[in-house]
Amino acid sequence: MYKNVLQNIENIAIWPMVSFVIFFVFFICLLLWVFSVDKKHIEKMENLPFEGNDLKNETNLNIGL
């Protein structure tokens, strides 16, 4: 169906190919990164909300919650 609709555009055959490649490359890169990432970096990143002035060991119970 999609092909029939699009066949009026020149060289339309390349569209599904391009879409597929974009998709494939996108998720491969994403997964590659996630598997190759430096653990120390991840640790730093996930602790970012706790840096600065906030007390790390403050719990909500201290403010009456």
Partner: protein, 708 residues
């Protein structure tokens, strides 16, 4: 390295918090009114400013843009400064953003009850306000990206990615969907027509849910949940996959709002496939949130912030599983146009957005006023009222949706519709609507208790308007030495990051829309479909003004149950002159696409005056003002010219002759009314509305006759 001293701006956060609470209460109260209107028409107050058709967009706009919008800004301004170890770029920009946004809300609160609307869902505001929104949104983005550039923390935490995606995508969505040609200062016609308008609108509508109600709140979740639980997010890697796959996939799924409509089939299928794929990132995010609490679940029993968050994240999970299921064509065939969809959005709205906001407020307010929460007991009470409210809202609406759908589709053994009269299906669900209103009232009561609690907290504490902090500035010409490419290339280059986000969200939109706009065969033309006459055009604008589209669809789907009830199913070619499209998304009343010629003019006249007298038990409000007010013929030429610019084939010079055509047609209608003993002025609004209603579906009937 030298440590710099600076302060976080809490004042702007406070302003946005106050706005959040005030507009939250207002928006919920308006919602409760709308819910009551659907049971007792008397709550329409017989005033043109307060009918359901105008109140419903007021409710949705107040909740989405005023309540959720202000909460989003409060959360972003609070967390962004702390995550970047920097004060906002400019206090002036922050305040322009704040007051600009409140003025837009004020403008919406005035214009929507006045009936000044584009009729496109969640984008109802007219063009001058649209321009103001674009400007203020850019101010927000400028302030945010400027702050990111002058930050003291090199790496951008995942919450900030979600904020950037929100800014970029909402800007694109808003601008593309708002293209319109102005007729007067408060009236415009959508740039797009019919099927294309529908596709653009639901590309917008779907992604407004994604990038206004979801991504900013995921950012807030990734910041406030670890803070409240006092432990880092379960898996930061998962949050990266969550972010990129969510923004990449979401944008494609818009067409699932248009299944079985006249939208080309391939676009519908595209929407379904991507909707199903969306389960993965959505549930990845939900699990990431819930798993963050591993080993800390005991605290959920005592900590009201965590309670609200757990319900919010669970509601997010439920709504994002339900959404893809609803976009399966077989489920959609049952659920679409019914109360089921209303239940679905309220699980998201009340559960995910509302509870996330409450959690954030209970967490932030005691800290900003450096005190303890006034009453944890009242907060607990709020939690239970809110939770019960959601249940009392959602369950009756699910039941109601299924009941409606089954009744619409039920045939007797002879092959006729069992409930031929649509009204029977409406009356049946009124008790469920009443239960829904009870749920809403419970939820609102909880919010009022929260307001009291927060005010008492603020009075007990002392507000810290500028919170002092210190951090080292960034080293110039920094080169990352280790780690994956993602953070070497992306995480400390905000501009590049923003551009890539933009590309990720544009791909889906372009692939969806380009073919529909370029290829004529997607919208087959029907010879018999002609532009509206000037009188019908005026009538159509009254239909838009009164918000009829909120309860009546103009889209007969190709099911036997619908063609039996309404007539020939709708085709793409029928809407080529519809600027904007008026397909609607909910059938509180019957579909009107084939209403033309079904009843005599007198029927419409009486029905609009006293609906209950014509259809006993009807919950439609009366429209007495249509009989007193007259159409403004001075606008006819402007309307014709505007539409011609958009491609509607009115011949050159027709704008000067249009009013004589208009007068001829209106005198024909008043003559038929007179024959039934009804005297009405030729230029009364009701005459134009009747002309429009009688036109609906006539063109396609003409086509059928011609073929025979």
């Amino acid at each position: 390295m030298e440590i710099e001293k600076f302060s976080y701006d809490n004042k702007i956060v406070k302003a946005f918090i106050i706005a959040t609470v005030v507009f939250g209460l207002v928006g919920m109260l308006v919602g409760l009114t709308a819910a009551l209107q659907l049971v007792y028409p008397i709550f329409n107050f017989e005033l043109q400013y307060t009918t359901f058709g105008r109140i419903r967009p007021l409710h949705t706009n107040a909740i989405i843009f005023a309540f959720v919008g202000n909460a989003m800004f409060a959360g972003v301004y609070y967390s962004l400064q702390r995550l970047l170890k920097a004060r906002m770029l400019s206090d002036a920009l922050s305040w322009i953003h704040f007051w600009g946004w409140q003025l837009i809300i004020l403008a919406a609160a005035i214009t929507l009850p006045l009936g000044l609307t584009s009729s496109k869902e969640y984008a109802e505001l007219e063009w001058p306000i649209d321009i103001a929104i674009a400007i203020i949104w850019v101010v927000f983005g400028w302030n945010m990206i400027g702050t990111i550039i002058k930050r003291r923390e090199r790496y951008l935490y995942v919450a900030i990615w979600f904020y950037i995606a929100t800014f970029v995508t909402v800007a694109v969505l808003h601008i593309v969907n708002s293209f319109a040609i102005p007729v007067t200062f408060f009236k415009s016609y959508s740039w797009y027509a019919g099927v294309q308008d529908a596709l653009v609108q639901w590309w917008y509508g779907h992604n407004a849910v994604a990038f206004f109600l979801t991504t900013p709140f995921l950012g807030l979740m990734y910041y406030f949940l670890p803070k409240a639980a006092n432990r880092p997010v379960f898996s930061y890697k998962l949050s990266i996959i969550h972010f990129w796959s969510l923004i990449f996939l979401y944008i494609w799924a818009g067409p699932h709002h248009l299944l079985y409509t006249s939208l080309p089939d391939w676009a519908q299928s595209l929407g379904v496939v991507f909707s199903i794929m969306l389960i993965a990132p959505s549930w990845g995010g939900m699990l990431n949130g819930l798993m963050t609490l591993r080993g800390a679940w005991d605290r959920v029993r005592e900590d009201v912030v965590l309670k609200f968050m757990v319900v919010a994240i669970t509601a997010y999970g439920m709504a994002t599983l339900e959404g893809p299921l609803l976009s399966l064509k077989n489920v959609n065939a049952i659920a679409h146009f019914t109360d089921w969809i209303v239940a679905h959005v309220h699980v998201g709205g009340l559960g995910w957005n509302g509870f996330m906001i409450f959690a954030m407020l209970y967490w932030v307010v005691p800290r900003m006023w450096s005190t303890k929460l006034y009453s944890p007991k009242l907060a607990n009470l709020h939690f239970w009222l809110g939770t019960l409210g959601i249940i009392f809202y959602a369950l009756p609406m699910y039941v109601s949706g299924v009941v409606q759908s089954l009744m619409w589709k039920e045939f007797n053994p002879e092959g006729f519709l069992v409930y031929k009269n649509f009204l029977e299906t409406t009356v049946q669900i009124l008790p469920l609507h009443m239960l829904r209103a009870t749920g809403g009232a419970l939820y609102l009561t909880g919010a009022i208790i929260m307001t009291y609690n927060l005010i008492k907290t603020a009075y007990a504490g002392s507000f810290v308007s500028d919170e002092n902090a210190e951090a080292a500035p960034l080293v110039k010409n920094y080169v990352a030495k280790s780690g994956g490419w993602h953070y070497r290339v992306l995480e400390h280059k905000p501009i590049l990051f923003t551009v890539l986000t933009l590309i990720a969200i544009l791909i889906g939109g372009i692939i969806e829309m380009v073919p529909t706009f370029l290829i004529k065969s997607n919208v087959p033309t029907l010879v018999s479909v002609k532009p509206y006459t000037p009188l019908e055009l005026h009538g159509r604008d009254i239909y838009i003004r009164e918000g009829c589209v909120n309860c009546h669809t103009q889209m007969v789907r190709p099911f036997r149950s619908e063609t039996e009830r309404y007539g020939e199913y709708s085709k793409a070619g029928e809407f080529v002159y519809d600027h904007p499209f008026l397909w609607g998304s909910k059938r509180t009343g019957p579909d009107l696409h084939c209403i033309g010629g079904k009843y005599p003019n007198t029927w419409h006249y009486n029905h609009m005056l006293i609906p209950d007298a014509v259809s006993t038990g009807s919950i439609m409000p009366a429209y007495p003002w249509l009989f007193e007010q007259s159409i403004d013929k001075n606008l006819t030429a402007g309307k014709i010219n505007a539409l011609r610019t958009l491609g509607v084939p009115y011949e050159e010079g027709y704008q000067d002759k249009a009013n004589s055509d208009l007068e001829r047609q209106s005198s024909e209608i008043t003559a038929t009314l007179k024959a039934d003993g009804i005297e009405v002025a030729d230029d009364a609004e009701i005459v134009a509305l009747i002309a429009y209603l009688q036109r609906l579906g006539r063109d396609i009937k003409g086509e059928a006759t011609a073929k025979e």
